[in-house]
Amino acid sequence: MSSSHIKIRTGNQMIAEGALHAGCQFFAGYPITPASGIYKSMIEQLPKRGGVAISAPDEISALAYCVGASARGAKAMTATSGPGWSLMIETVQYALMTELPVVIALVQRLGPSTGGATQGAQGDVLFTEFCTSGGYTLPVFAPSTPQECFEVMTTAMFWAEELRTPVIVLSDKEIGMTAEDVDFGSLKSYPANLRKQYSNGSPNDHPYKTYDFISAGEVPLFAPVGGKYKTTMTGSAHDKSGSLQKNSPETMEVLRHLQEKITMRAQEMALVKIDDEPNADTLLISFGITARTSHDAVRIARQQGKKIRFANVLSLFPIPEEKLIRAADGVKTVLVAEENFTGQYRSVIRHLFEGKKIAGINSFGTMITPNDILNSIPL
């Protein structure tokens, strides 16, 4: 009975732990169930590490404070739920356009509108991904346990900094607000990084270009607002120097680059945990809270002699196409389990499984149970 690493934590607390581990320096929050636990944890813990955790008067301000802090060079994040996310979408797009890293933890609750504050849901999958005017890929990671909240948060922070883009961690009420034993000794994490900084030459000899790149997939080197290199940041269409430009070839190249830098690294971002069964005839795909339930269902199904493989998708977007296609190798049926009406994730991955039977396991307002999944697995 030696020294223990077991602590009681919620998923929300583990998102905060992950952010701190990744070196987050700035948090601005606005209360909303079921995400308030992240806000509270950051207020308690971030100042202990010399960071800034403050209250904002609304979600628009919360994210704008984060993006402003990011422009000054800080690693920043906020947390919200569907109604707050609605208000943040303007600023998410601004962060995307200005190439300022920020992570938003979105803890889903039952929608639409104010919906059910204390009811879990996975109804914001498409709402999260397809929120940008112009249709850009926002990286979205989805944890299913408190341990994965930690892992995914460090992953999200890494990619936000690496790609200079907003990244979303999509959790939900059941993960966020359920407390459980967490073994801190077994936590996985991504390495902590910082956006690559511009440092060449003297400011006068080599004028710094805020959005400079050679190939479209490249991420521009960062110089902070307030640093010695003059920066020109803007949410309007701009050339590589950040100057407002309409329809110039260089501006179009910058706009293409915003997507290209994500697409180029999509395979590296792919995070899918496979519970393999070599001769499987069914592939079960899930994520978030329903991935958790799927573990139980898969165990029971195998006891019943069913040949089932399970894929827990932790990187929902960019869609980990190759990993999913490979996971479906040899199976006849692909099942996608998610807690929403219409099978949102299924609708965007079904084209990967041509020639196979694709079915959804869905619920609304209540967690999918192991039995709901078991009943859908073919004999």
Binding site: S4, K48, A69, R72, A76, E90, G226, G227, M233, H295
Partner: protein
């Protein structure tokens, strides 16, 4: 650091894109003159511009940092920059918000909050009383009787007094001035130089949309602003408040206590194999969630896995309080309760909720339901044991004592796991709980007889 003494911060040569006669021309020149007067290192200036004609001035400046933002949000972005600069960096940056009356209308709260916080941000509102870039529509700053394409019969809503508003929020440098006033350079310089939040409302005329439709000259503007008591003057100039970033450093960062290690070591053993599912329901404020937390903690102290989820009405402090706790010798994946093994109902509020959320209907023959004696009649599969918990133990202790008593009866976890945790919290008063448990235990004889 840049040692040169700038004669201008603008591009050279610079061509202003604004209409002839537009107040924005004055605005930009006076802002540049103020910066020249203050001789601030351009790398320590960030011009945070908003949307609208005035927002394009960022492209006219050569040396300061520029940050062109979304409509109305410029002050919020500037607040974020300032917080990171003042707390995480060297606090040398001067953030200057360049915003129109339209941006100030849609982003009013950001300005209010920056004033309340007293962040070192200077907001220069270019108030031309309408939305010039989109066709001259009326804004929240349009005076009464003002004719615009969207108030063709004259505006009937009075304008925002932004100066009075930020003054009421504690802003210590506030000024309203005409764009043509020769003191404008001085006023802008004073605002930028002010340590803490400052706002200048610069009243302008939009030559494209305001002039012509309205009979406007200096006198009529004066009459309009007089009528609404929007005085042209330095309306506040004092220095008594500490900047937000200084307060944050002295009141918050300087008083952080080290993190406590709340790791839980295994001290006991459990005979539980598989999963045991509890639902504990009672009234808010009667320690239902604490009882559940201590149950979970006890299980973890025995090397088990455990989950706890709480539910309560949105009001938090009234009505029911309910917790679902799963204990298991194996990893817990699905955290829902399919068949409750133990249900504790310590009040009528709790009964109402376990009925409503389906807990009672999911009970099966092995379920044990401990219910406060005085709650209304109910039916459920399994064994129902009614105990006068509230009168035996007091409502405050009823739930926790009932949980401890069930542990004592079940013997799956040693009862000391929970009594030790209670002792840590209440000290000598643990004897009250021990007495409670003794009083509750006889009521379980029915259960034992059933098992035999």
């Amino acid at each position: 650091m840049n040692a040169e003494t700038p004669a201008t911060y603008l591009k050279e040569p610079v061509a202003f894109p604004f209409c002839k006669g537009c107040g924005h021309n004055h605005y930009v020149n006076h802002l540049n003159d103020a910066l020249v007067q203050l001789q601030i290192d351009p790398s320590n200036i960030c011009i945070v511009s908003d949307i609208g004609c005035i927002g394009i001035l960022d492209s006219l400046f050569r040396t300061p940092h520029t940050f062109h933002t979304t409509h109305g949000r410029s002050t919020a972005f500037a607040t974020g920059i300032e917080l990171a600069d003042g707390i995480l960096n060297d606090s040398k940056l001067k953030s200057i918000v360049v915003i129109g009356d339209g941006g100030a209308t849609i982003g009013l709260l950001h300005i209010v909050n920056a004033a309340l916080m007293n962040v070192d941000v200077t907001v220069l509102v270019a108030n031309n009383m309408l939305y010039g870039m989109t066709g001259g529509q009326n804004s929240g700053f349009s005076p009464l009787e003002f004719v615009t394409p969207t108030t063709p019969d004259g505006n009937i809503v009075p304008p925002i007094d932004i100066c009075a508003m930020v003054k009421s929020c504690g802003a210590e440098y506030v000024s309203r001035i005409s764009a043509t006033d020769k003191n404008l350079t001085h006023v802008i310089a004073a605002a930028i130089n002010h340590p803490g939040f400052a706002l200048v409302e610069i009243v302008e005329l939009c030559t494209e949309f305001a002039v012509g439709k309205n009979k406007l000259d200096g006198k009529t503007i004066q009459r309009m602003t007089d009528r609404e008591d929007h005085r042209f003057d330095v309306l506040n100039d004092r220095f008594s408040r500490t900047e937000f970033v200084e307060l944050y450093k002295s009141k918050i960062l300087a008083h952080q206590k080290p993190e406590k290690d709340d790791s839980i070591s295994q001290k006991y053993f459990s005979t539980l194999r598989g999963k045991r599912q509890w639902v504990i329901a009672g009234t808010a404020g009667e320690k239902v969630q604490l009882a559940s937390y201590l149950l979970m903690r006890s299980a973890i102290m025995c090397g088990l896995h455990a989950t706890q989820k709480n539910d309560n009405p949105v009001t938090q402090g009234s009505g029911f309080s309910l917790s679902e706790v799963c204990l298991s010798s194996e990893n817990i994946y699905y955290t829902g309760i399919d068949v409750p093994d133990v249900v504790i109902i310590s009040s009528a509020d709790g009964l109402k909720e376990v009925r409503a959320n389906g807990t009672l209907s999911r009970c099966r023959s092995n379920s044990v339901i401990i219910a406060e004696e005085t709650v209304p009649e109910f039916t459920a599969e399994g064994t129902i044991i009614r105990i006068p918990l509230r009168s035996l133990c007091t409502p405050q202790r009823a739930t926790l004592s009932a949980v401890a008593a069930v542990l004592a009866v079940e013997k799956l976890l040693p009862v000391e796991t929970i009594t030790d945790s209670i002792r840590e919290r209440v000290g000598d008063k643990i004897s009250q709980y021990q007495n409670d448990i003794e009083k509750i235990l006889p009521y379980f004889s029915a259960l034992k007889e059933n098992e035999q």
